[in-house]
């Protein structure tokens, strides 16, 4: 799948390269003093690491994420139910199947495609050791999302979003902080039905975003939009479960590959 290929030099540098010890920080790269030393053993090590990192990018569905969900599952989780026709956002038109009894119905064929792409991208980011931030401003599902983040070892932000969290990071946190490599929005609106500030900020800082867009949301600034219902608890639980499974799968795969590399290097 085209979405699996990470474009841009910066994204290649984003994953931790164990040998050359290069920390990337959104535009600036600092290399440690040990980078200059290279031995034949280190050279084969680099080759193995590169293979581990680049091989998954050549496969369309390396993590076999298509077996995680079917269209029937999406239908039973009521993902196809949008808001009323009056709440419809004009840019969501192409993603809608139609409207029935004044309720917009989201096209599940398109949703399945978009969700597959989004999950694939998330898996690749998690495989390369990227930081994933799960965001939602819905109080109903805040606890669920925080628990999901805890269980897959990633990060969550379901509280009031302070203005400079991404754009003013070196002052809000400390200089040298590493920002998230992917932000997943489980609901792109905040509590006053306006677009979440994080979407615009992530776009400004070139952080890719995955977002569940309902029929009243604006999908334009989101890198991997997934048209779907963000109001029903069943639907949200399904998304949380899917993302947790993808991230865990990707991390397990990475650990497996590292172990194999360790075994083959010692042999």
């Amino acid at each position: 799948m085209a979405a699996g290929v990470l474009t841009g030099v910066r994204q290649v540098l984003r994953g931790p390269r164990l040998v050359s010890a290069v920390f990337s920080c959104h535009g600036q790269t600092f290399s440690s003093a040990a980078a200059a030393v290279k031995s034949p053993a280190a050279a084969t090590d680099t080759a193995a690491t590169e293979k581990i990192l680049n091989f998954p990018l050549t496969q369309p569905d390396y993590f076999r994420l298509s077996e995680l969900f079917t269209m029937k599952d999406l239908f039973e989780a009521r993902v196809h139910l949008g808001h009323k026709k009056g709440c419809r956002h004009r840019l969501m038109g192409p993603y809608l199947f139609g409207s029935r009894l004044d309720i917009d119905i989201i096209d599940l064929e398109q949703t399945a495609e978009h969700l597959q792409r989004a999950l694939n991208f998330t898996a690749h980011v998690a495989y390369r050791g990227g930081i994933i931030l799960l965001v939602s401003r819905r109080r109903q599902f805040g606890h669920l999302i925080e628990t999901t983040a805890q269980e897959c070892g990633e990060y969550a932000h379901t509280r009031y979003w302070k203005g400079g969290l991404l754009t003013n990071a070196s002052i809000q946190y400390s200089p040298g902080v590493r920002l998230p490599d992917l932000i997943v929005f489980f609901s792109t609106l905040n509590n006053v039905f306006q677009q979440h500030v994080g979407i615009r900020d992530a776009a400004k800082i070139n952080i890719p975003t995955v977002g569940i867009v309902d029929s009243n949301c604006n999908p334009s600034l989101i890198t991997y939009p997934v048209p779907g219902n963000d109001d029903t608890p069943v639907a949200m639980e399904m998304y949380c479960r899917l993302f947790k499974m993808t991230i865990n799968r990707a991390k397990d795969k990475r650990r497996q590959m590292e172990l194999l590399k360790g075994i083959s290097a010692s042999v």
Partner: protein
């Protein structure tokens, strides 16, 4: 032509065809770092360790110079020696030469909150207030757990509303400052209100006693006020008559009372009858009130001395003294009743100064 194109062109030139290279000169201001925006200077741990080592060595040298024992050379000795060796006439004390432990000179760095790969340790790091929000998360987790327990009991048919409730009398919620201390983080007033509301919600559930120790961590026991003031001891006359002595104050008036048992309700103040000393009815009522309240009107003989301030203040001082003296004749429950009536509280009001 942009710089990166030049660079790639030169790299290509090394490997294959020689392309024409055009040098672009840029001014040094392009490379200068904006030092002011970098923030306060950061020191590495090794640098600080080296400074500490140098300080210890220097301290021993200084002690030897001053012909004192290096083992027992304190910071005051160091200051004295430096002031002796480097006398300075500068007025600003902070500009004078000093020798202090590096801990006091270099600012304390906050512990780095992420590992070697840059991944933060706490899952709520990116919210900015990780300890506070993780606390809210835990409290909500407990609320959900109690709700699930309730549902289980309901399914079994064992649900009752009259379960053991947590005793909250005699304790108060922790103040915002105390919570900030516990969390090592600054929180706003609204955050504090939100936390207290969540705890109240937890308390409103019937099965909240499951989380008793957790809730009590956020409550502080209030000291029992009555234990602050010592009840004056009951003393006995050579005739065997019980009496007690107590003091009282109001504004600038100081009073001292001796309460004698098996009397007939005579009151003598400063050697005069209370009717003569306090012609105004209001002041005599003040004297009577403690005895009227406990219902021992004709039982005691009161002998008192008072000085300072005016007649109302003197009456108030005497009233407080009588109440305190009565404590030794009265039961525990009555003491609490007197406290709640306000008989044992000293009136804190004093005269406010004149302002222009």
């Amino acid at each position: 032509m942009p710089l990166w194109l030049i660079v790639s062109a030169t790299m290509d030139a090394v490997s294959s065809v020689k392309l024409p290279v055009r040098q672009i000169y840029v001014s040094s201001s392009l490379w200068k770092k904006n030092l002011a925006a970098a923030g306060p200077q950061k020191f590495t741990q090794e640098f600080i360790d080296k400074q500490v080592e140098e300080f210890e060595v220097g301290k021993r040298h200084l002690a030897n110079m001053m012909e004192e024992d290096p083992e027992t050379f304190t910071q005051e000795d160091i200051d004295r020696s430096i002031a002796y060796l480097f006398p300075s006439g500068l007025f600003e004390k902070r500009a004078r030469p000093f020798m202090k432990h590096p801990e006091e000179i270099f600012p304390k760095q906050t512990a780095i909150q992420w590992d070697a790969k840059g991944r933060p340790f706490h899952f709520l790091f990116y919210t900015g207030k990780q300890s506070y929000y993780s606390l809210l998360h835990d409290v909500y987790e407990k609320i959900l757990a109690i709700e699930r327990h309730q549902d289980k009991m309901r399914n079994k048919g064992l649900f009752t509303s009259d379960t053991k409730q947590i005793l909250l009398t005699g304790s108060r919620w922790l103040l915002k400052e105390e919570i900030e201390e516990n969390l090592v983080e600054n929180i706003s007033d609204q955050d504090y209100m939100r936390l207290i509301q969540l705890m109240e919600k937890l308390l409103s559930m019937p099965y909240c006693s499951l989380e008793k120790e957790f809730i009590l961590k956020f409550r502080k026991q209030l000291e029992v006020q009555s234990s602050k003031y010592e009840i004056p001891a009951l003393q006995y006359d050579p005739q065997g008559v019980a009496f007690s002595v107590a003091d009282g104050r109001r504004k600038t008036a100081k009073a001292s009372i001796t309460l004698r048992d098996s009397g007939s309700g005579n009151i003598t103040i400063n050697g005069r009858n209370y009717l003569h000393y306090f012609p105004v009815l209001q002041n005599r009522v003040q004297l009577m009130f403690p005895l009227l309240f406990v219902g021992m009107m004709g039982r005691f003989d009161i002998e008192g001395s008072v000085e300072g301030s005016g007649h109302s203040a003197q009456a108030g001082a005497l009233r407080l003294a009588i109440s305190r003296a009565l404590l030794s004749f009265v039961s525990e429950g009555e003491v609490e009743k007197m406290r709640q009536a306000g008989l044992l509280t000293a009136d804190p009001r004093i005269r406010e100064r004149k302002k222009p």
